[in-house]
Symmetry: C2
Subunit: 352 residues, 2 copies
Amino acid sequence: MKKISVNTSQKYDIFIEKGLLSNCAEIIKSQTKSKKFAIITDDIVDSLYSEILINSLTHEGFTAVKYVFKNGESSKSIENLNNIYSFLAKENITRSDCIIALGGGVVGDITGFAAATFLRGLDYIQIPTTLLAQIDSSVGGKTAINLTVGKNLVGSFKQPILVICDSNVLSTLSEEILADGMAEAIKYGMIRSSSLFDLINNHNIDTVSNVLDDIIYECISIKSDVVSADEFDKGERMILNFGHTLGHAVESYYNYEKYSHGSAVAIGMALITKQAVESSLCEKIYLEKLIECIEKYRLPVKCSASLNELVPLCYNDKKRESDKINIILCSKIGACEIKQLTIENFNLFMEV
Amino acid sequence: MKKISVNTSQKYDIFIEKGLLSNCAEIIKSQTKSKKFAIITDDIVDSLYSEILINSLTHEGFTAVKYVFKNGESSKSIENLNNIYSFLAKENITRSDCIIALGGGVVGDITGFAAATFLRGLDYIQIPTTLLAQIDSSVGGKTAINLTVGKNLVGSFKQPILVICDSNVLSTLSEEILADGMAEAIKYGMIRSSSLFDLINNHNIDTVSNVLDDIIYECISIKSDVVSADEFDKGERMILNFGHTLGHAVESYYNYEKYSHGSAVAIGMALITKQAVESSLCEKIYLEKLIECIEKYRLPVKCSASLNELVPLCYNDKKRESDKINIILCSKIGACEIKQLTIENFNLFMEV
């Protein structure tokens, strides 16, 4: 079993092993004094994995209650949050109990936010069941819900007390959902590790399952390092945003319907790197390798929207500070920097 | 001008002076780099004080936008929170802008929670306009909204960057709202300061305005000390809960309609101290002084509900840990202790 420690204000460990879900309560027991657990999950994950989790918890003598909502981004709403709060209140969950997020990014984000705010905060555990959630959203304590006017506009920083990654659960994912996670894996390679990038680029969507455990471990290690150094996203953590400012604009332009988060980030990475090449901040060879790698995972590198249409949507980014915008540029594979530009200079850089 | 510093994770100052509101932007300028302010207030406070605040802000060259909701506890809802979020998004509020809570406890609690969670948190300033908000809710960073199933069940710890107390604004308060705050002032005297208690007990609801500035200063000093020592309510801070466990039960029993928070806390202080006397944990003379003082402010010391009816409602308290409950007892005026009791022993103590 592999273990990665995250050194945030609330320190915690991430355990990675195939098959871990079925005896995860042993690890949970070693990390918390809680005896009662409120599991929050969605209907698809529920049908696949709730029983395994609950069996493990009850085997250790724990009490478990469960709330299930409809799978999908539309559940990351203030209405569903209110339903989760009502469930927690009805089940008499107290500050000495613990919440478990069992699912992908939507489940993890909204459950983390509920845990951060119900009774002004109680402990929670992440058990991510998608590649994207395992390598990205379950680590680092960013929790969120969507508003009708924008995604992830409400949330908080709330670290889990434990993350459990069982790569066996990824075997039930569709190719599309797996590729969604691979876009973020490519991002980690681009910003921090040429060896991780090469590992990903030496495989493709059909062969990657053989090396997925190594990829997960490398991605989480990078995320853990970055988050430990900058828990509250004031500096270095912004590098995790590579491809995301334009990616969010792409998602938004198509009303979150046409492109998944990973697909939009893939487009965002390609577009911003193309602009970096145009400005002589990156050599063309790296853009070509990035595009080659993205395409191996059947992810898109462009979309029908023009930069003129996408750039204005970048100004809704949460990380924007008044009249400035932070963008992340890779000068080569494995190295990046944060550039703060005025809106005017960003427009120039984007040639709009 | 008096100043009290609060030593929480985010340190901040509380400024106290009559008439401060009309030039508060000078102080604001010294405490933040923000140039744009989103004022959140209710309709009653808006009609009295928004213009003064906005004039001060614009005089210093700041931009101000305003959101006004209906006065009253029913506005401390998830629906109103959603409206506040939409307003902040519509006004393009970014992390480098600042939110101002102008109003009483409802305004301060929900605005603080919005500031804690919109864009995962931005700075906010408290400008409390009731006595209760000045001496209690505006200091210490507890933010909250109500659920339909219970009050303050959702919230977070989010310290303001600045608190501005202008006791002139209290002159527009009704006797009832002033008394509401005096109940909390009596609480501070009971738990920490016999001299503060004597100051309060030497006056009454008709004469107290002469010494209100001193009372405000003493109360905030106590709260600041307690909160600085235990920001996240894990220990000593619970002493601020004196009278509150039963007080919340009283509020809940009457559906938050018959008794204000202060009135309910007054009843709660009297009831719990009566039980302390019964158990020989407090001398009767102190209970008599407490009741005498409460009655000088035309606050109640009992209600029609029996202990048998109130005690079960105490188990919904946020601070309860699984099968235990923490209660605060004053052994004399100015001294208190936290007792953790099992549900069984609490029932015995309450003679139910």
